[in-house]
């Protein structure tokens, strides 16, 4: 059963065709690498799924229902979460405060509605434990490693039980040891039945963790291959255009 389906999706900005007739479907619990050179249309495609833009043509369906999105919060309501490249974390707040940012939990204190610190700490600790991350809910983001920060950003997506998580270049700016940590976080998400779209430039990461790879070139989808049936050389060829299409 497909969870997210794109059918003949296009997006143009004036005369520029950023995404051209892209169709694919994602299954529950699979990790799909989305690859392509700069300007291939990855960001535009992701921004459509994230609700930043609506497609010029074509339809997107989630669980068989058409996606109607006008703002990024609409995507969240449909069960789609985005982990932004810069992670969108506040350095001056704790891990728990960041996980719950914009979705704070309240309790009643007499007639006053106040933040429920203990529930937010507890729930974030549970999520970090599920993700097997050593991140502690009370620690400030500014004192954390790159891998721990990723865990906080990913923990946000667990809060709403998202079905599809888009991760934008999660391994672009972190050390080798932390890359392994992040790839493990992606596997944890997958094990819980979440579909992960991994937008990445790094071939080894995609081949390490993804089940499938989708390649875009100049706005068109040129490949949708199972990782087991492909090779880094083939994907590189597809990205650069040395291989026209498979």
């Amino acid at each position: 059963m497909a969870i997210l389906e794109l059918a003949n999706v296009s997006k143009h900005f004036g005369a520029i065709q950023a995404v051209n007739d892209v169709s694919f479907s994602l299954e529950a619990g699979e990790v799909v690498g989305l690859m392509g050179d700069n300007g291939a249309g990855k960001s535009t495609l992701v921004k459509m799924i994230a609700g930043n833009f609506s497609p010029s043509e074509g339809t997107m369906r989630m669980d068989g229902q058409p996606l109607n999105m006008h703002r990024p919060v609409d995507a969240r309501r449909h069960g789609i979460e985005i982990v932004h490249q810069d992670l969108a974390l506040c350095n001056n707040l704790t891990a728990a405060a960041n996980v719950f940012l914009g979705r704070e939990v309240h309790r009643w204190f007499g007639p006053l509605r106040v933040l429920d610190y203990s529930r937010m700490y507890k729930r974030s600790a549970e999520i970090f434990a599920e993700l097997k991350s050593e991140t502690r809910p009370r620690d400030l983001i500014k004192s954390m490693s790159g891998g721990q920060r990723q865990a906080v950003a990913i923990a946000r997506t667990r809060l709403s039980d998202a079905k599809v998580v888009l991760m934008d270049e999660p391994t672009a700016a972190i050390s080798v040891r932390q890359v392994a940590e992040v790839l493990n976080l992606i596997r944890r998400l997958r094990d819980q039945g979440v579909t992960v779209v991994l937008i990445s430039h790094r071939m080894p990461d995609v081949f390490d963790v993804a089940d499938r790879v989708i390649v875009l070139r100049r706005g068109r989808m040129v490949a949708d291959r199972r990782i087991a049936e492909s090779s880094p050389e083939e994907v590189t060829g597809l990205i650069t255009g040395a291989i026209e299409r498979v």
Binding site: H84, L87, N92, L93, L101, L112, V114, A129, R138
Partner: protein, 332 residues
């Protein structure tokens, strides 16, 4: 041995004592206590109930506005118009009451005027993307000018039928001989402290100051919050204006001149960082208290009043140096 979930939750990076020793508010408080002890021995007049009454009351005007300013600084903004808004609010109150209206109507007019000024600042900053420094610098000029226009630059000292009630509001001492302004300050500080620590609104202020784009991406209504914060800042100046009118018993168009700098100084000495994301209500009070004690003690010690600026300025720079040292340490 396995670590349980509860242990993980309870784990903090620092012990409470370490946190206290790292907090700027604590050290400023220590400085205040030390200064008070020194002054009670060095002068005969410091530790008298009359002087304490004076100090506590003088602190309040700066402190009340510093509460609003701290919220502005937390979101990474600045409000230079507060001194002029205080003047405009006082003048609107004075003119309305002078024209024969009651205290309630006068206060309403003053507060509505302040909120309108704050809303104007906020909309320009949040929705039109103007830099806060420039917008509020413009408002500093506009608000005082409006006060002059409204009063024809005269002194108002007769407040109509509710004259006595207004003077009692600002000059009385309704509870245990504590000056009324101090009571208002404490009440407002509790409200602001509560908002910052226990509400979603307060949490979002720190988020905006920490990383504005992250706040936007996570669905925090950043623009609305910014408008609200500039309105709160103007409101705090308006409230201080009302109380000060009652205390002084007269309004001139030069009250609150230069006050914005003193208020920003109080907030910064109290630990608010102009970069945004840091600041507390208690810090605003403590910062204001330190400034007032410096002013008061220079007078009592017989030091030339011209030195005041040098001492207060020195404190600001020391406070920022404190912050800088901590940053360097944590980046190591």
């Amino acid at each position: 041995m396995t670590i349980t979930l509860d242990q993980t939750i309870a784990q903090k990076t620092h012990t409470p004592l370490a946190l206290l020793l790292r907090s700027q508010v604590f050290w400023v408080f220590v400085a205040i206590v030390a200064a008070c002890i020194f002054l009670s021995f060095a002068t005969d007049s410091f530790a008298t109930s009359k002087n304490i009454f004076n100090i506590t009351r003088n602190v309040t005007f700066t402190a009340i506005i510093a509460l609003g300013m701290t919220m502005v600084i937390i979101i990474g903004g600045i409000d230079l118009s507060v001194g002029s808004v205080l003047c405009l609010s006082s003048m609107m109150l004075a003119i309305t009451m002078h024209a024969g209206y009651g205290l309630e109507i006068g206060i309403t007019v003053a507060i509505v005027t302040s909120l309108a000024v704050g809303a104007f600042n906020g909309v320009l900053i949040a929705y039109l993307g103007f830099p806060p420094f420039v917008v509020t610098l413009g408002m500093l000029s506009i608000a005082r000018s409006l006060a002059m226009v409204a009063s024809n630059n005269t002194v108002v000292f007769e407040f109509g039928p509710d004259h006595a009630r207004l003077l009692d509001l600002g000059g009385g001492a309704w509870l245990f001989g504590i000056a009324n302004p101090v009571l208002y300050m404490i009440a407002l500080a509790i409200i602001v402290g509560f908002i910052l620590r226990w509400t979603k609104f307060g949490r979002h202020l720190y988020a905006i100051g920490g990383n504005e784009s992250a706040a936007i991406l996570t669905g925090v209504p950043v623009r609305l919050i910014k408008v609200a914060v500039y309105m709160i800042s103007a409101l705090s100046a308006g409230i201080a204006g009302i109380i000060q009118t009652g205390w002084l018993g007269a309004v001139t168009t030069n009250i609150g001149t230069g006050m914005e700098l003193q208020v920003i100084a109080a907030a910064v000495i109290g630990g608010a960082s102009l970069v945004g994301g840091v600041g507390t209500a208690i810090g605003a009070l403590i910062g204001a208290a330190l400034i007032e004690i410096i002013r008061n003690s220079l007078g009592l010690l017989g030091i030339n009043a011209f030195w005041q600026g040098a001492f207060i300025g020195g404190c600001i720079i020391i406070a920022v140096a404190f912050e800088r040292v901590r940053q360097l340490r944590s980046s190591e």
